[in-house]
């Protein structure tokens, strides 16, 4: 029994599980995506046609796909920086020696992450109700104009971004806090002796030292935010005027609402390719940054 065989023996169970429950479904979905599997095929498999890349082609011609992609990109481009900003800010505050009740605040800010999206989204839907929501009530009471948060196509996505950022920033905050605590204190001490301002300390010590953490967190957040689904599903059902339909929501509707599993699988693979390209680009840019 040599070492490599022993190693294979040990990882076999994990590989079998991965193959069965991850690889196999992915391959099945890839096969599905080149057929027109739908309601009729469900009734009788003879109604299944091989359509090669037609699902992909038709998808690229659908205005709804492009607008869904646009909404998703909008969500990523606005949401990710906001989320990073909020989590880094919260982490710095909690990490500051002046902060009191740290464990309490850490838990409180992390709480939205572990609660069910569905339950929280229902509550937010009440808060942002146009007529009797607390948010508009508050705006009204200080004399500001009220907003049709979830009913106006221009406001629905910003509302969803706010919700998503609030719900998810706690997760990144915890990671940032670990990163901040790993920065040696004597660096700050040296900087203070040299007369560096708080901002200069942040810019020249905190940010560079956090770079690896920052990279990991942004890649995780970007890939998570590309998979926007739950928020529009619960809060707006993709509306109003499909202004909050994300790519994943489109996939869900194609697949589970209308049973066009062929084109739903095609949506999934297109989203995979896009996410892969974006995260690979991010990695490459960060490597180039290190060389410079």
């Amino acid at each position: 029994m040599n070492t490599s065989r022993a190693a294979w023996l040990f990882i076999t169970p994990a590989l079998i599980i991965l193959g069965l429950f991850f690889l196999l479904p992915v391959i099945a979905a890839l096969i599905l995506s080149v057929t027109d599997y739908d309601l009729y095929a469900l009734a009788d498999i003879r109604n299944l046609r091989f359509v090669a890349l037609q699902n992909y082609w038709q998808l690229l011609q659908r205005p709804l796909f492009w607008s869904a992609l646009g909404h998703t990109v909008y969500f990523v481009v606005v949401g990710v920086p906001l989320s990073l900003f909020a989590s880094l800010g919260a982490a710095m505050l909690l990490n500051s020696p002046l902060a009191r009740f740290k464990p309490f605040f850490r838990t409180a800010l992390f709480a939205p992450v572990v609660t069910t999206v569905v339950a929280v989204a229902v509550i937010w839907r009440y808060l942002f109700n146009t007529k009797y929501g607390l948010v508009n009530y508050a705006l009204d009471s200080i004399g500001m104009p009220t907003v049709d948060w979830l009913g106006d196509p221009h406001w629905a996505m910003p509302t969803i971004i706010l919700f998503a950022v609030w719900k998810n920033f706690g997760y990144n905050m915890i990671i940032f806090m670990a990163g901040l605590q790993a920065i040696p204190g004597d660096l700050y001490e040296a900087a203070r002796i040299d007369g560096a301002s708080a901002f200069a300390q942040f810019r020249h010590i905190t940010l560079p030292m956090l770079k690896p953490t920052m990279l990991m967190v942004s890649i995780l957040t970007v890939s998570g935010y590309f998979q926007l689904f739950a928020e529009p599903y619960v809060m707006t059902e993709g509306g109003p005027l499909q202004s909050t339909t994300s790519v994943l929501y489109l996939m869900y509707e194609e697949g589970f609402k209308w049973w066009n599993l062929g084109s739903a699988s095609a949506v999934a693979f297109i989203l995979f390719v896009i996410m892969f390209a974006v995260t690979a680009t991010m990695l490459r840019l960060s490597r180039q940054g290190e060389k410079a």
């Binding site: 027109d36 739908d38 309601l39 009729y40 469900l42 009734a43 009788d44 003879r46 109604n47 046609r49 038709q58 069910t116 999206v117 569905v118 339950a119 109700n129 146009t130 007529k131 009797y132 049709d148 979830l150 009913g151 106006d152 998503a164 998810n168 998570g224 935010y225 590309f226 998979q227 926007l228 689904f229 739950a230 599903y233 619960v234 707006t236 509306g239 109003p240 005027l241 499909q242 994943l248 996939m251 869900y252 589970f256 609402k257 209308w258 049973w259």
Partner: protein, 429 residues
């Protein structure tokens, strides 16, 4: 951003938490259990009627599972895909063609022919016809649902009318007077995310909505364009608020406050308005059949049917339940519990319905309803229709472009159906 499946599971758990408890009753020896799925509030009402049925059929137990409306369509298809269909289910009558295309439900012609309870000629013809596909009956209408006008008599009297509108021109003249001041008060409420209102207006036209045996959309016809132009003009002239039903929030309170005068809606709102408006306002509102382009107009033949799944092992028991729920006396009680209107004329002889001034308009309308095209893709087509119509209402596209775009989308959705029909595959209907 959690995974789709996790969220769906959470939603399903929340939605079906109640249903699970219903199905856990311990089975006694020798009893047969009938699985009965209902959609929305009908489940609660039917639970009150079932003890009587079980008394009449000893040894038979009916287990009711209530599906939430938003998840029902998906759940039925998933059940079919996973071979876990119930014995009998309530089914929106626009979904019948889809389940027939799947070959999932049982034809009922022989049972209807020999039945002493289900008398075909007693049913409103258009409602019955929604269950007939390729000349075979697949479902028995359970209750009907059509859309007509709820309106505020007092507000109408204030602008000088002592009668409801009889045709579109008169209705438009009324709405023009009622929508003052502009942007504050509106003639009619038409939530932009609901397709039923525009659908009713387009069913009033002579041209069918699909052509060539449901192979192609027919939305570029003069009739549909006329209906769409009328619909869009209401938004353009600020006679209908540009709002989704989410934006409206509470349509009943808004109706009471005079935010709008007309509301194109269905029978369940009789009960809602009785419950939600104060007693002093109860005399101020009424219902009236839908006005057409030139005289009384048609409306949609909506409602739910009862169907038996092919895979059921208790088809005779399921039929017995359908017969029980089709009795005029039972339908009368069903109406009293829930307000769902019966599909047969003899049930309408019940005093509760006959003497109800709010219900008579529906009785009148039911003789003038039209079914939607019986194709499996209909639900999707009509969803797309509304999305494009909402864009037209917003003024983003012209009437002609909207009609062409709806046709384009409908034709794309019907591509598979055309292929099935052209290659002799059974694309029922």
């Amino acid at each position: 951003m959690s995974r789709v499946t996790g969220v769906l599971r959470a939603v399903a758990v929340l939605a079906l938490a109640g249903a699970a408890t219903a199905g856990c009753a311990k089975q006694e020896e020798g009893t047969r259990t009938l699985q009965f799925w209902t959609i929305g509030r009908e489940g609660e009402a039917v639970e009150k009627l079932l003890p009587e049925f079980e008394r009449e059929h000893p040894g038979l137990h009916v287990s009711v599972q209530q599906l939430p409306l938003t998840a029902a369509h998906q759940k039925l298809l998933t059940a079919y895909a996973g071979d876990s269909t119930p014995d009998i289910t309530q089914l929106g009558n626009t979904w019948v063609p889809e389940l027939v295309a799947l070959d999932a439900i049982e034809p009922l012609d022989a049972r209807v022919a020999s039945s002493k309870v289900v008398e075909k000629n007693d049913y409103f013809p258009a409602i019955w016809s929604t269950n007939v596909i390729d000349g075979k009956v697949y479902g028995v209408p359970w209750y009907v649902d059509t859309r007509l006008l709820f309106y505020r008599k007092d507000l109408l009297a204030r602008v000088g009318y002592d009668h409801p509108p009889r045709d579109w021109p008169e209705w438009q003249a009324m709405m023009a007077k009622l929508s003052q001041p502009p942007g504050k008060t509106y003639g009619v409420l038409l939530p932009t995310n609901e397709f039923e209102q525009l659908l009713a207006l387009s069913l009033q036209q002579d041209e069918p909505l699909l052509r060539d045996d449901g192979r192609y959309g027919n939305f570029r016809s003069a009739g549909f364009k006329k209906a769409l132009a009328f619909y869009v003009s209401l938004f353009k002239n600020q006679q209908a608020p540009m709002m989704t039903n989410v934006g409206v929030g509470n349509p009943w309170a808004a109706f009471g406050q005079g935010f709008y005068t007309f509301y194109l809606s269905g029978p369940w709102n009789i009960g809602e308005f009785r419950k939600r408006l104060p007693p002093e306002q109860q005399g101020d509102w009424a219902t009236t059949p839908l006005p057409g382009p030139n005289g009384p107009g048609a409306s949609n033949a909506g409602g739910s049917s009862l169907v038996i799944f092919r895979a059921s092992k208790h088809k005779d028991d399921a039929w017995a339940l359908i017969e029980f729920l089709s009795r005029p006396a039972i339908q009368e009680r069903f109406y009293q519990i829930l307000g769902d209107m019966p599909p047969r004329r003899s049930s309408w002889e019940a005093p509760a319905l006959r003497d109800d001034d709010k219900a008579t308009a529906f009785r009148d309308q039911l003789e003038r309803v039209k079914p939607t095209p019986p194709v499996a893709e209909w639900e999707r087509i009509v969803t797309e229709m509304q999305l494009v119509a909402a864009q037209a209402a917003h003024g983003d596209i012209s009437i002609d472009d909207a009609a062409a775009e709806i046709d384009r989308r409908a034709d794309r959705l019907l591509e598979k159906r055309r292929w099935m029909l052209d290659h002799g595959h059974k694309a029922s209907p």
